[in-house]
Amino acid sequence: MKFNLEGLTVYFPYEYLYPEQYSYMLEVKRALDAKGHGLLEMPTGTGKTITLLSLITSYQLAHPDMGKLIYCTRTVHEMEKVLEELRKLQAYQEKELGKQAQILALGLSSRKNLCIHPTISGEGSRENVDAGCRKLTATWVRSAAAENPDIELCDFFEGYEKKGADALLPAGVYTLHDMKVFGRQKGWCPYFLARHMITFANVVIYNYQYMLDPKVAGVISRELEKECVVVFDEAHNIDNVCIEALSVNLRQQTLDGAQRNLTKLGQVVEKFKATDADRLRAEYNRLVEGLAQRGTLPQNDQMLANPALPDDILREAVPGNIRRAEHFLAFLKRFVQYLKRRMGAQQVESEGPLSFLDDLNNSAGIDAKTLKFCYDRLHSLMLTLEITDTEEFHHLTLVCDFGTLVGTYTQGFAIIIEPFDERMPHISDPVMQLSCLDSSLAIKPVFERFQSVIITSGTLSPIELYPRLLNFNPVTIQSFAMSLTRDCLCPMVLSRGSDQLPVSTKFDMRSDPGVVRNYGRLLVEMAQAVPDGIVCFFVSYSYMDAIINSWNEMGILKEIMQHKLVFIETQDVVETTLALDNYRRACDCGRGAVFFSVARGKVAEGIDFDRHYGRLVIMYGVPFQYTLSRILRARLEYLRDTFQIKENDFLTFDAIRQAAQCVGRVIRSKSDYGMMIFADKRYQRHDKRSKLPNWILSQLKDSHMNLSTDMALHIAREYLRRMAQPFDSLSVDTGTLLNEAALQRPQPMEVG
């Protein structure tokens, strides 16, 4: 249908619209009109993606001067889903408007997902594919191949290169698969084609990293115009993504590897000196002139980019003391030596970048300014030395990464050296962490560069905290509730076991056998009463291991298995995938299954347990972060000092958002239904509970709080019976669905 939204004609591919979708569009439109940023929370299952796409593409149609839509997703799977939705929308718009509505939309992913080279695409890991590709496409390899036909090249890249700027994608919506099909058909490399086509596309969908990680963003997103709209979907963890993008961990192996790399580089330099001294000299001259390398190099050679942000690297010449290759290598050697010495510390050390630099200057004679350039300098050197196997020099790259970040930022970072893991104090496993404490650093350039940035997710509560964490001023902040025709989600707070004793994963209670038994009984009872799939989330792997062991000893596990099969998430991805696959199969064939998983794990973040795959999710405990972690402490301190966010507030916020994220897995659409049990007495407290997203809170009835196991069981049985009754999904009359006619009427509502 199409309708008029405050003067904008919106094309929406479905016949009905939820009222919250309407309000959501209104807010997005206002943000776009004001050329500002937006922060919007809308529960999953209300069609957030299609709402966003539909509004922004309609906006693009109405305002041709508007830039691209950059849609950032967390996973490739989500990217594909967005593209599918977009394809539907596109088909509808073309039906309504004809050719003029044609757009080019494509997803961009790593080489691993786009490569169609017969041998390289078979390589397992992402790094291997990248390195393999470079071996076949680097400029010097290609120029060498021009003389020596024995050198292997990638046919697809050559095909693409031959076409040059004429290699274009016709308008349409391309998923990764479509890109590969198209590439095979034309004999062009889909990866480079996609990168090339970004300039022409109306909608680009790619991973967060491409926007937030300066190493990648510098390469990919550099040429995007200011008028673009950037959307971060599922952005509830965006602060963590930002922090990760700017954090570096160095271990003993890294430093050892870096040392080996240095030796090897030294040999290569010597060799070049003997054979091709001109090259080194040319490089020296270039550095003297202070040409920033980036931008002058061919696209396919850009394998590394600076980890710091473009604005922070002054466009100045590389300092004289590292311009010569051998000087630079000596400089790095000193740096690695210094780091090794620091790593040998016997107790935990934690300091800010300034004192670190001071110490570095005093003991190794390295100053911050030089350090700042070490990443760029290494990059330049490797190009000069024609090194294609970047993977081999991974360790050294990491060290330079570290150096540049330390040299660049004096604020918002902490350097923490831990000689051993807290949990295993006898095993020496030193690690030096350069931890970014300020999530606003990485996202700041995005806010500054682009006209509108929309941050959205199903769980952004409490929504006031995000602008403070990310340090920006959104023009619209809104949290939408879900309009429901029936209570399709049933949250409960269970605070007591069947013996009326409180349950909690609080540190002093978690190993109490009574609590463990109560938790176990809860699952046994629920396994009897709930059909198909049940998902349990635990606060950590170690806690999950411990409790499963105890359950096994108590015979609880056996009882559960009388009713349902049990599957467990492990830290091994392949194992977990297999477990998930079998879990789904058990749900499909009516056997029923329980999946044990961990909050903050892979499953909690990315896997849906919708429909019969998850009729009940039990959140055992409050998933607080490991509070003794130095990084977390440093961050909490920083947040308190810089943004005046109380430690406790942040911890609770973070724990509750994880919990909400876990339980939110269970419902993905309005026709679905599911129960959520928060099994910890601490959820009973107002400060915890009130941080849950509004769409859960609004369904949490007073009578569903402070429950014991038997009461929860009673509610569950009643609820499941009620939900199994047939219901009328089309309820235009009740106002939970809007059709075209309803939208023609004046709209009085403002859902808040």
Binding site: R591, S703, R721
Partner: protein
């Protein structure tokens, strides 16, 4: 009240303090808590406010119009047009007697309730489908067990089920379906094959691939329906969806009864499900009592009235049956007539809309003489008009006419119109 000072039995003060800290706002919530489960039902509806005492001293609902409309929606939803139905049914009733059937959320236990209601269902089934056959399969301890073969005698099924109650082990839906399919394999083509599963369990433990069993049922045009006692199970929903059956979940004993009885009237059927054919049947006359003869069914000398097969003159004791000598189906015309109302349903009445010409309104229901709403001093509720004969009826008669009588009294008192049912 209690004197000031420490309570000897009370918890220590520090524990109290800790509790207060832990459960800070608990107390406030306790006050706002919902009523108990048994109070909630009444509290929500405030049903007493809807009552008034009528002149017979009975409590009557104040204005029942809305309520009556709601109730009418049910039979209005049923198709009024003459649709084809599977009149000759072969139904296998699969009763789940797994461990879950011993649960006591229905009183005294699920199993007992199911057994009692299945008895009601079986009687109703044969009442409404005299030409049909029924068999029972029990699911217990992982296997499916055939309690009765397909046959037309209600009593034998009921006895067999009652004799074998007892819950044990897991239920295997796949085994149940496979066995039912085997039982339904040899029936004649014109028969409609059906499986109704009464399921307590929320899980099925199958030896093989249940999806293959479902596909086989679909292929053999077996309509599988499931009545669940606890919650929606995906595989049951899939089974019902793929085979064209229904899947319903009972919320209470009364609801379970309704859901089971929904399977008593013949379901709508497609022509390809069972090709039409003419079946040869005998209509024996009842002999007066007192004439002694030997019956073919019990091989016994009987004195009471009996029926004689018109083809081979063998004597049978009850109808409907199959002649034991010549295998012809023996029927009486009332048996057939019991099913006719499915074929010629009474069109739903329309609710009368108030108009200006209320002066000439009949004050009483045409069928039962009860006072009708819409006139001065009349009752509350809805007034209904038959679209064919334009006579006015009360709400109760509407329900009677469409649910049990299947005749419109008004239409039966005037010459048959061309669109009226034949016969």
């Amino acid at each position: 009240m209690s004197p000031a000072g420490p309570h000897p039995q009370g918890p220590p003060a520090d524990a109290l303090l800790q509790d207060a800290e832990e459960d800070g706002d608990l107390e406030a919530e306790e006050a706002g808590r919902d009523a108990r489960a048994w109070e909630r039902e009444y509290a929500d509806e405030r049903s007493w406010e809807m009552l008034q005492e009528d002149d017979a001293g009975l409590l009557r609902a104040l204005d029942v119009t809305a309520q009556q409309r709601e109730r009418r929606r049910r039979h209005l939803a049923a198709p009024a047009a003459r649709i084809r139905r599977g009149m000759i049914r072969y139904l296998v009733l699969v009763v789940d007697l797994s461990r879950a059937a011993a649960e006591v959320d229905f009183h005294p236990s699920r199993m007992a309730v199911v057994a009692a209601l299945v008895e009601v269902f079986i009687r109703e089934f044969f009442d409404q489908n005299p030409l049909s056959h029924l068999g029972i399969i029990a699911l217990r301890a992982g296997v499916a067990q055939r309690l009765t073969e397909l046959s037309g005698s209600p009593q034998s099924h009921i006895t067999a089920l009652k004799a074998s109650l007892g819950a044990d082990g897991e239920a295997s839906l796949q085994n149940g379906l496979d066995l039912a399919r085997a039982a339904l394999a040899p029936i004649p083509a014109y028969g409609h094959r059906e499986v109704v599963v009464v399921s307590s369990a929320l899980t099925t433990c199958d030896p093989g691939d249940i999806h293959a069993a479902i596909a086989a049922c679909k292929k053999h045009r077996i309509r599988c329906s499931v009545v669940g006692l606890a919650a929606e199970v995906y595989i049951c929903a899939t089974l019902a969806r793929l085979t064209g059956g229904t899947y319903t979940i009972a919320t209470s004993e009364g609801h379970l009864r309704d859901l089971l009885l929904e399977h008593a009237p013949p379901p709508p059927a497609l022509q390809q499900d069972a090709p039409a054919s003419l079946i040869r049947m005998g209509f024996p006359q009842r002999q007066p009592d007192g004439a002694a003869s030997i019956c073919a069914c019990h091989a016994d000398l009987r004195l009471d009235g009996a029926y004689v097969c018109p083809r081979c003159k063998a004597r049978v004791c009850e109808l409907p049956t199959e002649c034991h000598v010549c295998s012809i189906t023996l029927m009486s015309s009332p048996h057939l007539a019991r099913s006719y109302h499915h074929l010629f349903p009474v069109p739903p009445y329309d609710e009368w809309q108030a108009s200006s010409s209320s002066a000439a309104l009949p004050a009483t229901c045409f069928a039962c003489q009860a006072g009708l709403p819409g006139v001065a001093g009349g009752a509350t509720g809805v007034r209904l008009v038959c679209p064919r004969c334009a006579r006015h009826f009360c709400f109760d008669c509407d329900a009677i006419v469409h649910e049990s009588l299947h005749n419109c009294p008004g239409c039966e008192c005037r010459p048959a119109a061309p669109d009226d049912p034949p016969g």
